[in-house]
């Protein structure tokens, strides 16, 4: 069996599609997480494969079903945080042989296929559907939601795993080479780090609306605080330290106006969810969280990097698509959990949604008001990548847990968690989901 990437037809990328045909008929129930770590220590039990098995088994147990009821898996086969397995580096055969390997020895170490999962989770005896949602948990979620709605699978595991290796982030691969190929050089010759494009948009945003970088501080502090209340998260598990405004303002620049805390810390972790039909969800162990809609942005920048104008147009369009297919308005959102890696684009996602009526150019002022989990306007209650490390999945886990009323110390209390939104990664190019306590 070779797993295929999800076809374009599974994604809702246009306005005017009306209500999602499976609105309220698909639900997330189980959640599972591995432990987090900064980098792989080379042991079999901490590999991305092992972490992913842990997360999947937890998600199944959390949903309270038998593994033989699982009939589908959607995952992202890519697991890199930016650290690449260098060609010629020896393959750790002790780790390969600690598992039931697939044809690719790096499977389970620096990548992850559904085939590897099935070889190493013998209890999954009835999986008939596998599909890749490449790039991100956000995409795997929309693929799984559509697949369950379409009847391709009834009880579907959704998985995202990450590996992080020794060495500096993005310092391997092309950046280590001496000469640049002609096409790549057009954008890479100037030595911009990953956050540059976002920094540029943020600079344009501040220039256009008369805002400043230090106005981000309340968002950063709120995010770290929420992250420290996330027992599954990296900072909570490994470095339970808060962040102050002074810390943020004194942090070194990476690509000014993006500083160290505007960039996310690459880590290792896996997360998994169990999706099912609304019908089957009724008698599972956890409260179902119904999916009201999913949409995707596949918009590309006209030239080298998206301009502020391109970003604002596309996030607004994403917001309209989300509401249209879910049959809700911005007023129905209890909370927003849009992506934040990098922090300096969170406001684009938020303004696109018109969350709490916030218009373009107003989010940084909104950050100066009560955006806490206790207040009436919770912003990023998950804490996101900023609060828990680079996984791009905290916002989804949190959205599910908030609506299930089991987000623990992170539970929002100023407003009842009934409808939430999460998704990302980038303002241009992402996958987004509306979650609800009721099917509509």
């Amino acid at each position: 069996m070779v797993t295929q990437n999800a076809p374009d037809s599974m994604f809702r990328t246009q306005e005017g599609l009306g209500l999602w045909e499976h609105r309220g008929k698909v639900a997330a129930v189980g959640v599972g997480h591995s432990l987090t770590s900064r980098r792989w220590d080379g042991k079999a039990e901490t590999s991305v494969g092992a972490n992913s098995i842990t997360a999947l088994r937890q998600a199944i147990a959390d949903a309270g079903i038998s593994p033989d009821e699982v009939d589908g898996i959607v995952l992202d086969p890519g697991t890199t945080t930016g650290a690449h397995w260098q060609e010629g580096d020896p393959i750790p055969m002790d780790v390969v042989n600690a598992f039931n390997p697939s044809s690719d020895p790096l499977d389970g170490i620096a990548k992850l296929s559904a085939e590897w999962i099935l070889k190493n989770m013998p209890e999954l005896t009835n999986v008939k559907f596998t599909m890749n949602g490449t790039g991100c948990m956000s995409k795997a979620i929309v693929v799984a939601a559509q697949a369950v709605g379409d009847g391709l699978t009834n009880n579907c595991l959704v998985l995202k795993g990450w590996h992080n290796l020794e060495g500096r982030y993005y310092q391997g691969g092309a950046n280590a080479q001496q000469g640049r190929p002609g096409l790549a050089a057009i954008s890479s010759l100037w030595g911009t780090p990953a956050s540059y494009g976002t920094a540029l948009q943020f600079a344009a945003y501040c220039r256009k609306y008369g805002k400043t970088h230090d106005m981000m501080a309340p968002f950063i502090i709120n995010s770290r605080r929420n992250g420290l209340l996330f027992p599954e998260g990296f900072w909570a598990q490994n470095r339970p330290e808060g962040l102050t405004e002074e810390d943020y303002l004194a942090a070194r620049w990476i690509a000014k106006p993006a500083n160290l805390y505007d960039n996310d810390i690459p880590i290792m972790a896996s997360a998994a969810y169990l999706f099912t039909t609304a019908e089957r969800a009724k008698d599972m162990k956890q409260k179902p969280v119904y999916i009201l809609n999913h949409v995707s942005s596949r918009t590309r920048a006209r030239s080298l990097t998206p301009t502020l104008e391109e970003v604002e147009a596309d996030t607004a369009r994403t917001g309209r698509m989300l509401y249209e297919g879910a049959g809700i308005t911005a007023d129905d959102l209890s909370f927003e959990n849009m992506y934040d890696g990098f922090t300096l684009f969170h406001q684009f996602h938020m303004e696109g949604l018109r969350y709490r009526g916030v218009q373009n150019g107003e989010a940084l002022d909104f950050y100066q008001t009560d955006i806490s989990i206790e207040g009436p306007n919770p912003v990023s209650p998950s804490g996101g990548n900023c609060g828990s490390g680079r996984t791009r999945f905290w916002m989804h886990t949190d959205s599910i847990q908030q609506i299930q009323q089991r987000a623990g110390a992170r539970q929002i209390t100023g407003v009842k968690a009934e409808i939430g939104v999460s998704g990302g990664p980038m303002p241009l190019g992402g996958d987004f989901t509306i979650w609800s306590s009721t099917p509509g």
Partner: protein, 135 residues
């Protein structure tokens, strides 16, 4: 600033050959008559592969900039912090090019200023476009 060497392939050779001759050319779709950069085998608008290289004036405007303090390219790290600006071409404000803006101190970039293309030699002799502020 010591940029890395650039090794053109068949596809990008016309672009880089023009640089060596002191000319800036941008890919243009013959059907849409619309500029495209970075270049691609087909037009992103109409998907036609009938593309040409069109010489442009080499004049533009600074749209925005960032200041790089933590560069992933080892050979540029000695020059940190440095500017990377986005230039919008006069012929089409949607077409961008990056620039270190040689001579402009870090974080003192005059956004909105007019700029003109210059050509900078990389270690293997291949020239690449750079930009200078026009006073």
């Amino acid at each position: 600033m010591p940029k890395q060497a650039v090794v053109p392939d068949d596809f990008t050779k016309p672009y880089y050959d023009a640089c060596n001759q002191g000319k800036l050319v941008i890919q243009n779709c013959k059907s849409c008559n619309i500029l495209q950069h970075p270049p691609a085998p087909a037009c992103r608008e109409c998907n036609a592969s009938d593309m040409e290289w069109k010489e442009v004036s080499g004049r533009g405007t600074i749209y925005e900039y960032g200041v790089i303090h933590d560069c992933p390219v080892a050979s540029l790290q000695a020059d940190q912090p440095f500017n990377v600006a986005v230039i919008m071409l006069d012929e089409d404000q949607g077409i961008q090019m990056y620039s270190h803006l040689p001579g402009v101190p870090a974080d003192e970039v005059p956004v909105g200023s007019k700029v003109e293309v210059i050509f900078e030699e990389t270690p293997n002799g291949q020239k690449v476009p750079e930009w200078k502020v026009v006073n």
